[in-house]
Symmetry: C2
Subunit: 323 residues, 2 copies
């Protein structure tokens, strides 16, 4: 089994899912959002985790797809809250239709995720369901914290890490945990897989923060410096505010206060401050630490080494990503 | 076991549910909405259904509360979509806080409903979960149809009945069905309980339509004639449009077209048309037919007659309600 095989199996699964038909206003947005694709990282992680413990990873396909449908549900509702015009380069659901349709279609999408999750062996269902519930609630908590932070003057690094852990990482943790549960792993291994996923998720999100500043404009999907322009309290900014002193601190805070500015100029100036404070290296170090943690946990896992190859390759790919 | 006992058990349950705490913006609206009370009809129905089949109805309390939490989730999101300012006489969540908080708090409330549902015996979980998913999707379908109907010129009676069945009745059906499942009923009885609930729900909703016109202003919770003022395509209006001919039809349609009117005058005029067409009697007949169906199914149910008393008394109370 290779990542390619997992991806193919998932593509087949998503192509065959029908979701419902009437009324069309309810189900069309769901199909639309799912059809925009995306990397399907999360369900692939579930399949990889199952394949660590059993050759019969195919039984994990439907529950794995629940994780992806849930993820897309959060995108649909988050995009309303963030008033985001685009998702994967296309109009968001609330833009293409309207807010009400995006609310209700998102609701039915969350229900659909539960329906896919229910396609798990009976004796595993309660455990998977309770863990899914906990994770889903945490993702909502993370989104609420993210919104709260927007209107706050200061956010500590600890608070920020906790927020991205809830908003992003616990779902990656659950994706691997779910795979381990389906694969019949023992308690210790299930917990280890969860931790691996959470650490990959933290590394992945901090990489996003780093690439917003230092990404290759030709490869990075979003506008470089978008977080800087918006004063988003990312790891980069929080770290810079902690490290800056004297004149540098004053200049940085002035840029944060400035309401009328040339975006290109602001991005260049703040990036120069980050450079002077070595924020890139600090972020990279932290990213490496999270991925190292994940690799160590994977190393220590009591399964045949050859079975770990896919997940290792996958994590390496995420580390080396430029987009 | 009496309705009073069931209500007490549910009141204790809801008083002890904590829902989560951090961030407070996420969980406070959930607690607020649940604290506004309401009649808790749905979870009481679940307990009554369980008690038809076993004395150990207490094991149904937590799953029963899932039905109530789900119902309140739909209220929170519907109120955003309907731009409703008040719920149970108090500000709606999106009014007291804002739309984003009502969206996200509603999401976590739906997750909470699943968490309560998970408190069911392992061997019953998959069945209950799949039926809950189906019901939840149908309730979303009903809400979407309701919104669609607002902007449509004509809605047939059949379409209207289908809409209220999805939006309201299937959840009452599920409430009883869930109780039967937990009580260990056989397939036939489980299906019968579902049908009883759906028919009670249809009767209940049509009674709402009737009371909007003919309710006692001192007892009815809402403004009398609210549906008439808003041109809501209720059973009363659809039936009147079907029955009206000649001058009466023209007068009715004129009132529907009129954008500037004295509300009291419009309510009086449309009510007079309903009177002349005997719409109240037609609606009452239909309501009775749904309740009769429910009673017949209950009569035919193979359980000790004495066990049926509570559910019978409950349905009778709903028939005779004036609010």
């Amino acid at each position: 089994m290779t990542l390619n095989e997992f991806s193919k199996a998932l593509a087949n699964e998503f192509a065959s899912q029908t979701y419902g038909s009437h009324p069309v206003e309810l189900y069309e947005p769901l199909r639309y959002l799912m059809s925009l694709g995306g990397k399907r990282l999360r369900p692939a992680m579930t399949l990889m985790a199952t394949a660590l413990f059993t050759d019969d990873w195919q039984k994990a396909i439907k529950p794995a797809s629940a994780v992806e449908v849930f993820h897309n549900f959060t995108l649909m509702h988050d995009d309303i809250m963030d008033k985001a015009p685009l998702r994967r380069g296309k109009p968001t659901v609330h833009e293409k239709w309207n807010d009400n349709i995006a609310i209700l279609s998102g609701d039915v999408m969350l229900v659909q995720a539960y329906e896919l999750l229910a396609e798990i062996d009976d004796h595993l269902l309660k455990r998977a369901l309770k863990r899914f519930n906990r994770t889903a609630a945490e993702v909502c908590e993370g989104q609420q914290l993210d919104m709260n932070f927007e209107s706050r003057e200061e956010v500590s690094e600890e608070e920020y890490i906790q927020m991205i852990k809830l908003k992003t990482s616990v779902l990656l943790g659950f994706a691997l945990e779910l795979g381990a549960i389906i694969g019949g792993a023992d308690e210790e291994a299930i917990e280890a897989l969860y931790e691996i996923g959470v650490n990959i998720g933290l590394g992945f999100q901090l990489m996003d923060d780093l690439l917003d500043v230092y990404g290759d404009p030709d490869k990075f999907g979003k506008q470089i410096g978008g977080d800087i322009i918006a004063n988003k309290k990312t790891f980069m900014l929080i770290e810079a505010r902690n490290k800056a002193t004297g004149e540098t601190k004053i200049t940085l805070e002035n840029w944060l206060q400035e309401t009328r500015f040339n975006p290109v100029e602001k991005v260049a100036a703040v990036t120069a401050i980050y450079d002077s404070l070595h924020i890139r290296a600090i972020a990279q170090q932290r990213i490496n630490a999270y991925f190292d943690k994940a690799f160590h946990l994977l190393d220590a896992l009591q399964v045949e080494e050859v079975r770990k190859n896919e997940l290792r390759a996958f994590a390496s790919m995420l580390i080396d990503r430029e987009v």
